[in-house]
């Protein structure tokens, strides 16, 4: 029956081509929207995900990585001395302004980390070394910042707030979700640079559970011991940050809406075509029934058409998507195309096409025998 379906589709090439185009369009849009959305989500927690350690201590009710409050630095010592903590590091994340060469300012997000441990610092360098920010007015900018900050070279100077900093390295992959470029400095410098942090405050403490201790236990212990802060596992804080950007800002909703619309447009196109084709072949399907085919056997032909549309459309979309990832990347966006996303989209495509075929079922069920006899 699959073969019959294929022959029916191939017979009316123009209609099948247009339908396929519709499926490719709908599925391609779903791929792109889902991929870009997931790309944004990954970007929003990129530093958390790349920072070693498995526990994050944040100010009370902090909603995400980017807008967290300072809290007293001495809590860091409590964390470090807690049973089951192997090591702990302080990390500052805050906002600042950078002066552009040609005048004007840009907003940047500053990450101040301990250059000796590198925890919270860049994880891949294009130029320079992450330790270079130690003991002085030094900064590392990410290569993705060039678009906003102009071409920055190692060794040149930039004014951040009221301080002149020397660029000592270029990092790679530290793409900011907020679009404000990420600039890395030493913890000490960040603390002093941005006045409102205060000299005795930190923004995060990142810790690692000692071997033999479960992360969950250590998190529970720290929650009991520390007052006025929240304690998360790395995964939980990463997810919290992602969900903040996805749900609370409404960004996710608009993506989902586009995906939903694409889904229904695709369904409409496939449904329309299959329905028309069923109506056109109703005499032949009726004849098969008269010769002993059950409804089910005819559904097989109809659903096979849906399946062929789905698979062909999906494969073409996947190829187009994979090819276009490169284009997305050249515009500095991240688009996620990977195993489970592809499977999810395949599932959506099948659902889209197969449910579209259901409108034809009634037609088959209720074939009026009289039409068979019409000349």
């Amino acid at each position: 029956m699959f073969y019959v379906a294929l022959r029916i589709l191939l017979y009316d090439k123009i209609r099948s081509f247009i339908t396929l185009l519709g499926v490719v369009f709908a599925v391609g849009l779903i791929f792109a929207q889902l991929g870009i959305f997931l790309g944004l989500m990954e970007t929003s927690s990129v530093i958390i995900d790349h920072t070693p350690g498995d526990i994050w201590v944040t100010s009370k009710n902090s909603k995400n990585f980017d807008f967290s409050q300072p809290f007293p630095e001495y809590l860091y010592h409590h964390v470090r001395s807690e049973d089951g903590v192997q090591w702990a590091e302080k990390l500052i994340v805050t906002w600042a302004l950078i002066k552009q060469k040609e005048g004007g300012t840009e907003q940047i997000e500053i990450v101040g980390y301990n250059p000796d441990s590198g925890v919270g610092g860049p994880w891949e360098m294009k130029a320079g070394d992450i330790r270079n920010v130690k003991n002085g007015n030094f900064a590392i900018v990410d290569e993705s910042a060039m678009r906003r900050l102009g071409n920055i070279r190692v060794g040149e100077y930039r004014d951040i707030l009221f301080r002149r900093l020397q660029i000592v390295g270029i990092s790679r992959g530290a793409k900011s979700f907020t679009t404000a470029p990420l600039v890395f400095t030493s913890y000490k410098l960040a603390q002093g640079l941005v006045g409102w942090i205060g000299p005795d405050n930190t923004v995060f403490v990142v810790a690692k559970a000692a071997p033999g201790y479960s992360v969950a236990t250590v998190v529970e212990r720290l929650k009991k011991r520390l007052k006025g802060v929240d304690v998360y596992t790395k995964e939980a804080f990463s997810m919290k940050t992602r969900l903040y950007w996805a749900v609370e800002t409404g960004v996710g909703f608009s993506f989902m809406l586009t995906i939903l619309i694409s889904f229904f447009v695709g369904m409409l196109i496939v449904g329309q075509t299959i329905y028309n084709s069923t109506v056109e072949h109703i005499k032949e399907f009726g004849t098969l029934k008269a010769l002993g085919a059950s409804n089910f056997e005819i559904y097989k032909i109809i659903f096979s058409q849906a399946l062929i549309n789905a698979l062909a459309g999906y494969l073409l979309s996947l190829i187009i998507t994979i090819l276009s990832v490169k284009i997305y990347e050249s515009t500095d966006m991240v688009m996620v195309v990977k195993g489970w996303v592809n499977l999810l989209v395949l599932g959506l495509t099948l659902l889209m096409c197969v449910s579209a075929a259901f409108v034809s079922i009634r037609k088959i069920k209720k074939i009026d025998p009289a039409i068979l006899f019409r000349g």
């Binding site: 022959r7 191939l10 072949h281 032949e284 098969l288 008269a290 010769l291 002993g292 025998p369 068979l372």
Partner: protein, 230 residues
């Protein structure tokens, strides 16, 4: 041995809004194996309706229909496909071939439907198409055939499975005289060879002489019967 078709007091009343149309009334028929029967009558006399009931695609309003001794008029909708698959084949005035499938594939489709598999089906389809004189055209699409050729495909398709009953509704309706005759002769000879029970509904008087036995219908009733003396 049970007869292929036995009907008793078969009636069909169509409900057209508030109007009732009696399309078939108290039809009593007994049709045996190898019989090729013509069902004649003017347009609207109930031939198509009777054929639809015999083919189990339309339910009678009342009366009994037995296929090989099995009462089928009270069977559920779910059981009927099996009955049709086992006993019934059709030939239609409009051929009803899948336009996207070649002649060979059209015949194969029905063979497969009736449970004939793979290579056996391929061979059988080729043989049948050869028998109806289309061996040169098995890979043609229906649109590339003449009306007479299309109907010959339909004959091959109807013979394809081992269904003992073949029902044909106005098979010559779209054909000119000589092609119509050729198709009818072909159908008659091939069906008789295989001992099929064939009922041909038609108002084409020019093919009357083909049949051994003719039933005349008028206003839903079988009014007269004529047998050719052997």
């Amino acid at each position: 041995m049970d007869k292929p078709i036995v009907t008793r007091n078969l009636c069909k009343i169509y409900q057209e809004g508030r109007v009732e149309v009696t399309a078939v009334s108290s039809a009593d028929l007994t049709l045996g194996e190898g019989e090729v029967v013509g069902l004649f009558g003017p347009s609207g006399s109930g031939k198509t309706t009777l054929l639809s009931i015999l083919g189990c695609i339309l339910r009678p309003t009342s009366g009994s229909l037995m296929l090989y001794g099995k009462e089928v008029s009270d069977m559920s909708e779910a059981d009927l496909p099996f009955i049709r698959k086992k006993y019934i084949s059709f030939i239609f005035q409009g051929f009803n071939l899948f336009p996207a499938l070649t002649v060979h594939e059209n015949v194969m489709l029905v063979l497969k439907l009736k449970g004939v598999k793979g290579e056996v089906a391929e061979r059988r389809a080729t043989e049948l198409l050869t028998e109806v004189g289309l061996e040169e055209r098995i890979d043609f699409l229906p649109r590339d055939l003449s009306g007479g050729q299309k109907q010959r495909v339909a004959v091959a398709r109807a013979l394809a499975a081992d269904a003992p009953v073949i029902l044909a509704d106005e098979p010559t309706g779209n054909l000119d005289f000589s092609n119509g005759r050729k198709v009818m002769e072909l159908l008659k000879n091939l069906a008789a060879e295989r001992k099929r029970c064939v009922v041909v509904a038609t108002h084409d008087n020019r093919i009357e002489d083909i049949f051994d036995r003719i039933l005349f219908m008028e206003d839903g009733k079988i009014v007269r019967e004529k047998r050719r003396s052997p």
